[in-house]
């Protein structure tokens, strides 16, 4: 391993150039309902747990395979991805999104990922079995680690981290994230420069 640091990345709006759930919603004609819920969740107006279950409820009528295909085409922050590829052993994806939806994308990114989980039957979600608590994942890490994210559900992970980095390259970080972050960066290249200084 090339570094003693571990790098924990949020997925939506950190590795991806856009929030994933509203993209899925757009494709299946539920954009407005999902977008409103997503915005309120990022800001922390409604708890992630509750909002996420509501959004899954709205989207579970869509076949899992269709969602996976949409997710696989979401544009990614290429420089961030490059950093992850160069440091595979020490990078992790930590996302509240569902394993059955973002699994193929996480496989493509090629590092260990922590996700929420759902049960699928005949190609459709039947229930969510676990909503990921990012703080809990962060606490399970030993040694120095940096957590990078922007949504309200990233705050706990960012608070636990040796370096808690609020990333505003896609949209403004939630106030709860800025309140506990040690650093904030608003441009991808600057983010990668900062991360490389830790290697």
């Amino acid at each position: 391993m090339s570094t003693s640091w571990s790098f924990l990345f949020d997925l939506d709006g950190t590795i991806t150039q856009k929030e994933i759930l509203p993209i899925i919603a757009k494709e299946v004609g539920l954009y407005e309902e999902i977008q409103k819920l997503t915005e309120d969740t990022i800001k922390g107006v409604i708890p992630f747990h509750e909002s996420f279950l509501k959004r899954v409820e709205l989207l579970k009528e869509v076949p899992v395979k269709v969602v996976q295909d949409i997710v696989s085409n979401v544009p990614l922050n290429e420089k961030t991805l490059e950093f992850i590829e160069e440091n595979r052993d020490s990078c992790y994806v930590v996302t509240g999104n569902l394993d059955v939806w973002v699994g193929p994308l996480c496989n493509y990114i090629g590092v260990k990922s922590y996700t929420s989980r759902a049960e699928v039957e005949d190609g459709f979600i039947i229930r969510v079995t676990d909503v990921l608590e990012k703080g809990k994942i962060a606490r399970s890490f030993e040694g120095r680690f940096i957590a990078i994210g922007e949504g309200n559900n990233d705050a706990e992970m960012i608070k636990e981290a040796t370096i808690g980095l609020a990333y505003g390259g896609v949209h403004s970080p939630a106030n709860s994230v800025l309140a506990c972050a040690s650093h904030a960066i608003y441009e991808e290249e600057q983010l990668c420069r900062f991360l490389r200084q830790l290697l």
Partner: protein, 220 residues
Amino acid sequence: MSVSKTVVINCAGVGSRLGLGITKALIEIEGKPLIAWQLEMLEEVNDIRVVVGYQADQVIEQVLKIRKNVTFVFNHDFLTTGTAASLSLGARYAQGMVISLDGDLLVHPEDFHTFLRYPYESIGYCIPSTEDPVLVNVVQNGSEEFISHFSREHGNYEWSGLVQMDATKLSMTSGHVYQLLEQYIPIKAIPVRCQEIDTPSDYDAAIVWVQNNLIAINSR
């Protein structure tokens, strides 16, 4: 040409001696906030770290209007810690040389570039001008000048607040930056023309200073 050094701008303080109720980075001088004058001087520097505390969101917003490629470092304890703690947070995790620029300091761009180009550890000194200065004794050694001590009472020049040090040496959680630097003297001394803004009369002087030193340069 771009520069690979890290520049830390310390903007976390309340600026209470100035008494304007806004952090000094945001005070307007000749139509621009102070931080904008500083960032203009730092165009060629890739790694700028702005330490924020008081009114952090407003400082971040202002900086992002000027450039996006900045790392913000939070000093959440800005009310109870001093400049050394802010610098220490800003320099942490940087590699190689770090230049510390106080958020209330205007430096002549030509002098700053000389300082930036100098490859070794160094301190910027100036003619005493502020009401409550940190003084330095500058001594000649051959063709070079060195800072031999810091003092609140004695010294032939004033410390500008500008310093260039290896990142690993800038770790301290309390007190003033000069107290942190004392252990490393003698340090190479470089003269700089500058204007610090601590009090209302400094602010008035800064406006004239900007007219004479920065606007005059830009219109050349």
